[in-house]
Amino acid sequence: MQHILLALLIGGAFGFVLDRIGATNPGYIIKMLNLSNLHLMKTILAGIGIASVLTFGGLMTGLVDPGHLSVKTAYIGVFIGGLLLGTGFAVAGYCPGTGLTAAATGRWDGLVFVIGGLLGAAAYMGSYAWVKTTGVLDHIAGGKATLGTIAGTKYPALLEGVPGEAIGLVLGVAFIVIAVLLPASLKSSGVAEPAE
C-alpha cells in the first residue's frame, strides 16, 4: 500500500512537471531536435545534472540506499532501439512518457501516438523470441555497467577502480554547466523564444 501511495505521489509530480516544462507539447520537442529552440534541452540537461548530483551526494552521505539504483543492461539492441525511438521521436514529437501525458492534456495526436505505441510494444512481444536469436540482446561493455565503481552495488565498472560516486558528481556538474552554456538556439535563422 505504501508503494501505491508513492507511485501516486511521484508519478503525479512527474506528470505535472513534464507538462510545466513544455514536454507535453510536441512542438517544443521537435524544436529541440531541429535545434531551433533548445529551451527544453537545457531543462532536461539541468534535470539530469541536478538528479545526478543529489543521487551521488546522497550515496556518499548514506542518505540514498545503493539498493535503490537500477542500472539497465547494455547490448547492441540498446543502440538500435535508440535509433528507432529517435526516428519516431522526431516525426511525432513524442516519446512514451510525453505521448501519454500529452494525451492526458487533451492532445488527440498524442492519443493516436499511444495507440500506435501499444501496437509497437505488442509487435516487440511477438518478435522477442526471434530478436533474441539474432544476438543483438547479447551483453556488451560489461552488461549492467556503470562508468565507475559504486559502493554497495554489484554493477561492473567501465573504469574499474575509479570511484563511481565521484564520476557521478563530476558528470552531474558537467551536465549543469552544459545546460548553462548551451545557447537558446543553434539555428542562425531560428526565431527561438527566449530561454527564460
Binding site: D19, K31, S70, G77, G81, G82, G93, P96, G97
Partner: protein
C-alpha cells in the same frame, strides 16, 4: 509558456532524485507491454497463468512476458503495482497541470504549430504519422529496454553505460530527421 529552464530543470531533477531516494528510478515504456498484456489476457485468459515453478509465481506462453522469471506476467496479473500506478498517476498529474493552466488550445489539439507550418492542415496526415511514430518509438524502446525516461534520464543520472548508448542512438537519429523534416519555423 513553460517554466524557465532553471526552475523546470530543478523540478525535474528533484522528481528523478526523489524516485531513486524513495523507491527506484523512473521508467515508463514497460507499462505499454503491461497494458497490452492486460488487454490480451482479457481476450484470451491463458496468456498469463499462475505457476509454481516460475520465480514470480506467474508464467506466459509469450516469451517476452515470461522472461526474467515471469516478472512482466506477474504485473499483468496484478496491475495495481508500483510501476503501472506510477504511469496512471503521471497522466493524472499532467492532466491536472494542463487544466490549471487553462488547457491545450483547440488549434493545438490535433497537431503542433510547427507540424502545420511544414505539412499543412490535414489531420489524417498528422494522425498517420503519429501512429507510425508511436509504433517505431515503442518497438524501439522495448528493444532497447527503456525509453527517454528510463534509459536517458534515469540511466545517465546513474552513470549507466547503457543510458549513454541509448541517448547516442536516439539523438543520432532524432536530430538529423527533425532537421530534414521541419525546415520551416512555426
Amino acid at each position: 509558456m513553460p517554466l524557465n529552464w532553471k526552475t523546470g530543470g530543478l523540478a525535474l531533477g528533484i522528481v528523478f532524485f526523489a524516485a531513486v531516494l524513495l523507491i527506484k528510478p523512473i521508467g515508463v515504456s514497460t507499462q505499454f507491454v503491461i497494458l497490452d498484456g492486460i488487454l490480451w489476457d482479457a481476450a484470451s485468459p491463458d496468456v498469463v497463468v499462475q505457476s509454481e515453478t516460475a520465480k514470480s509465481g506467474y508464467e506466459s506462453p509469450n516469451a517476452y512476458l515470461n522472461k526474467s522469471g515471469g516478472k512482466y506476467a506477474k504485473n499483468v496479473a496484478n496491475p495495481l503495482n508500483y510501476s503501472f500506478v506510477f504511469v496512471i498517476a503521471m497522466m493524472l498529474g499532467a492532466g491536472l497541470s494542463a487544466a490549471l493552466r487553462g488547457g491545450v488550445p483547440a488549434s493545438e489539439r490535433n497537431m503542433p504549430e510547427i507540424w502545420r507550418a511544414n505539412f499543412g492542415n490535414s489531420v489524417a496526415k498528422r494522425y498517420i504519422a503519429a501512429f507510425i511514430a508511436g509504433f517505431l518509438v515503442l518497438y524501439g524502446a522495448r528493444l532497447a529496454g527503456g525509453c527517454t525516461s528510463g534509459h536517458m534520464m534515469s540511466g545517465m543520472m546513474q552513470t549507466a553505460v547503457s543510458g549513454y548508448i541509448f541517448a547516442a542512438g536516439a539523438f543520432l537519429a532524432g536530430i538529423p530527421i527533425a532537421l530534414f523534416l521541419f525546415r520551416k519555423e512555426a
